[in-house]
């Protein structure tokens, strides 16, 4: 029983253009969304890869004035959001163009909220706290994983509290996403793997979420199938446009699924961990996924069976315990095959951190759609197994 609206499902997605050369529509779209002077939000890595200047050139050609803001960390911080919003106002900007992975896009979402409301981003921590839309936001992802370009989530770090927190609202779903696989060519194999495993986790969690629905299921299963097939190929053949495009499509599908069905314990645990360790979000997810599946399996065995099938396992008539073991093994094998073979202790976590991490994870909004109602024992066990 999930309340009066338990059976209702909603699907919100931005306008998106997918395909090679999509980023070259940035100028046209910036104008279409009313951008007169836009803030181009990116980060130093994306800038160094030349993607920011490539988009800047397109904006210039279209006659769209812009201001560059690249003070965005790997885990964007509240002060970076405040700084960006201040500049947004001072420079007289009226729209945002985010170029990069999840970090610049989440930071741009935060800048938009603060610019529109004049209030600190911390006030919007949680779900459905925003009552005013930010300025138009156009996203150009340069990774295939975060799906921040289509999602209702913005994950930000508050270093003084040593946490990462989520701002969740349909109102921050971007207006337009230009998904251009050409921009993925510069991704290293490690980053391709990290971000791809992030997308895979999105898809798995969205499918087993208690908020899943028929439409999100389509995208979630398709994303799993696409990623299990093409992510290893994209890691091995980074210059292949076809493989890159498949991973980008998979990320889009996973994003559409999780943005509407929400996530689960993997992300709740990873957000908690992200406040402690400054390690890539995709790596956290990849390490935790198989252990959370192990804890959750009994609460949604048939959903996990479908996940296992999407992973390519022939488990149609297999007993549940067999499916559980096969799926956990498949996930572990898959990530090890992509070179993600760390443990949490190897990343700097200590057993002594578990109680605090557990408390924080249990408060994470992603927990509410986890198939199993989480408790302290379950969360602690997941951390211990991943240690």
């Amino acid at each position: 029983m999930t309340g009066e609206t338990g059976g209702l499902r909603k699907f919100v997605a931005p306008e998106f253009v997918c395909g090679a050369g999509a980023h070259r529509l940035a100028g046209q779209y910036a104008k279409n969304i009313g951008g007169r002077r836009v803030m181009l939000v990116t980060d130093p890595g994306v800038r160094a890869a030349g993607h920011a200047s490539s988009v800047a050139r397109v904006l210039e050609e279209a006659g769209v004035d812009f201001v560059l803001f690249d003070r965005v960390s790997q885990n964007p911080r509240v002060e970076e959001v405040a700084d960006g919003a201040r500049r947004f106002g001072e420079e007289g900007c009226n729209a945002l163009v985010a170029v990069g992975g999840g970090s610049p896009m989440d930071c741009a979402k935060g800048i938009g909220i603060v610019a529109a409301t004049g209030r600190p981003i911390e006030e919007f921590e949680g779900v459905d706290r925003i009552d005013r839309p930010g300025p138009p936001l156009l996203c150009i992802p340069t990774t295939a994983g975060s799906s921040a370009d289509v999602s209702q989530f913005a994950i930000l770090a508050a270093p003084d509290r040593r946490i990462k927190f989520a701002v969740i609202s349909k109102i921050i779903v971007p207006d337009v996403s230009l998904l251009d696989p050409e921009l993925l060519h510069t991704l290293s194999p490690a980053l391709t793997a990290n971000t791809g495993l992030d997308a895979l986790t999105h898809a798995v969690e969205a499918y087993v979420s208690t908020g899943a629905g028929p439409v999100t299921d389509l995208f979630a299963l398709s994303a799993i199938r696409r990623l299990t097939t093409y992510l290893p190929l994209a890691v091995r053949h980074p210059a292949s446009p076809a493989y890159r495009e498949e991973t980008m499509l998979a990320s889009l599908e996973a994003g559409l699924a999780f943005s509407n069905a929400s996530l689960g314990a993997v992300h709740a645990l990873a957000h908690s961990l992200g406040g402690l360790l400054d390690i890539p979000h995709g790596v956290c997810n990849a390490i935790l996924l198989e252990h959370v599946v192990g804890c959750n399996f009994s609460w949604a065995p048939e959903r996990y069976r479908a996940v296992a099938e999407a992973f390519g396992l022939n488990v149609v008539r297999a007993p549940r315990e067999v499916v559980r073991a096969a799926l956990i093994d498949r996930i572990a094998t898959f990530r090890h095959g992509l070179g993600i073979d760390q443990t949490l202790s190897g990343c700097g976590m200590d057993a002594g951190d578990i109680p605090a991490l557990t408390r924080s994870a249990l408060l994470d909004p992603c927990m509410v759609t986890n198939p199993r109602v989480p408790d302290e024992t379950m969360v602690r066990r997941c951390y211990e197994r991943a240690l």
Binding site: T5, D131, I171
Partner: protein
Amino acid sequence: MSVPSERTYQDRLRESILGLGEHSTRKSHYPELQRRLDELERFRFLLDRSNDLFFLVRAADGRIVDANASACSRLGYGSRDLVGARFVDLLLEAEVLLIEQTVTARLRRDDEEPLWVEMTMQRARFSGEEYLVVVARDVTERNRILEALTESENRYRGVVQQVTDGILIVEPGGGAIEDTNRAVADLLGYSHFALLGLHTMDLFAPGSRLPDEGSTTVCQLLRSDGNPVPAEVTVTPITYGDDRVMHCFVIRDATARLEVERVRREAHEQLEQNILQFATLGDHIRNPLAVIVGLADLLGTPDAERIVQQAREIDRIVDQLDRGWIESEKVRSFLRRYY
């Protein structure tokens, strides 16, 4: 009081995450646009009801792109007539128009009557285009009041200038002369403007003391040629509207009054002298008269009897004169008292 169960809270949170919360809707700028339009409408309402005239003029061609209702009604045009018109065509007369400075101008009304305004222009930039925001304030009524005030002040000034007593408005403590009238200029031989450059003490003879506030004192003033002029000076404080306290010196030429006093004093002295001489005259007559009576008695002739009778007649007359002296004393006392 019932406490919501954890599950209920979780349910609500779940519904919010799935997009079924109160604010959770696909991003749309229309509600915000509507809110801004409502704000704009309210602002427009206020703007239209302002007494001031507002014009938005495109800098590139000087044409009016917007004007508030006051601009239309006070100039007698419809908004369609104003929008698109060249702003300069509205100007009948103006000082040099400078950005961010207030100038006086006359605007052309539809009925060709001029409208006096005080006007300020500011630059503005909207959507990448330069504009001038012109705010004009109708000063017709203010000018009428100013004219009435000026006329009233001129009347008052005329009265002050024409009174025969001199009037000086000065800073307290013998400070600068702030205003004066013609009578002071005539009395002291200065021009009006020369007086305004002086201090109060410049008008008093050396060694003179300024009269105290609220008193009337006869002082020696100095004319412009250095000659002294006796004057009766009364000092009263006056307070201006800005709480500034000044002194008003009312100066009356005392030359004529002092001359009358001198003549009267001399007349009194002469009268005293005459009465004194009159009082001793009887004694001067009686002494030789007694000698005459004595000699007549020694003669023992009939003529001597007649001489004595005449001498007694003279004595009676002297007695009458003595009684007249007593009357003179009363006259003198009267004169002393009243003149």
